[in-house]
Symmetry: C2
Subunit: 154 residues, 2 copies
DNA sequence: ATGATCTCAACAAATTTAGTTGACAAAGTG
DNA sequence: CACTTTGTCAACTAAATTTGTTGAGATCAT
């Protein structure tokens, strides 16, 4: 269960746009230096966000990238899906398409529940939330629980 | 956020052992055919589960694999950690070790909350639960919610 | 001893990840 | 118009990860 560099970069770049003055384009290079993201790679990512309708672009001098929609209407899940596809996959299949035999039959339900819990975080945090530094209460409750911060030693 | 074939195989193999008659070894080949897992790959995985103290082995004729501990004391999270390392990583780092700048500062908390929600499923389902086909109520509630089954169209 | 079974290191093909490169297109400025 | 700035895009690539396979060996019960 890993978040790739690409997905992480995408959310961070989108957060920068969410925090920018509305209507004023932010240059790719400004995003790259602010978030320490390789510029060329970032441009690939921003182009995918544009194709997904999350980002708008302006070419030429004084050009750059802008959010295509309001920061409160785009969730982290939207951004990740735009660059990586489905939020949760098991061996490349969506959880609801699996079927297991014998002793493992109930495992399919575990994956369904897992995806539901992943969604309940990623679909409830918007770019605006991140840019403002104010997460929804249901998410903040988890952050405030000391247990959430403990690394489980293997 | 994907579950690899290896992690999926590991949980399914462990579920087979959890469902077996206690004390009687199950042959690798029996697990492989029951769950449609390539035998050689499965043996690699079972060896890792043995090193993690989850599985016990018996060599020779009438040998095979057994759970080293009670099925109710091993969680899905334990099995996945044994073969894949930490449950949730962002760019190879644990969530609590991240720090972001500027507009993305709050993103670190999102990853913490995400891991907490992943754990609340995977650390609360045991191999016994899966083998019996009876998941904990908090997990089953999510499975019973029709929303959990909908594929989000991108 | 013998056959069944697990052990282990090494190898390897395919895929994914994380980028880089270079030619091009559009927008604004002088 | 020429020129600079910026995004667009396809193609390429190195490294890591995933998903296995192979073959020689160790161990156990009979």
């Amino acid at each position: 269960m890993r978040i790739t560099a690409k997905a992480d970069y995408a959310v961070r770049a989108a957060a920068v746009l969410a925090a920018a003055v509305p209507g004023v384009p932010v240059k790719g290079e400004a995003i790259a230096t602010a978030q320490h993201i390789p510029l060329n790679f970032l441009e690939n990512i921003l182009r995918e966000l544009r194709r997904a309708g999350i980002v708008r672009t302006q070419r030429g001098a004084d050009g750059g990238y802008l959010l295509a929609v309001g920061p409160e209407t785009v969730t982290v899940a939207d951004v990740i899906r735009a660059v990586e596809g489905p939020l949760a996959e098991i061996q490349g299949e969506r959880p609801e398409q699996l079927h297991y035999d014998g002793a493992a039959t109930a495992l399919a339900d575990v994956w369904i529940a897992l995806r539901a819990n992943i969604r309940s975080i990623l679909e409830n945090v918007t770019l605006g939330d991140i840019a403002r530094g104010q997460l929804p209460e249901s998410v903040q409750m988890l952050v405030d629980d000391p247990d959430s911060w403990k690394a489980r030693i293997r």
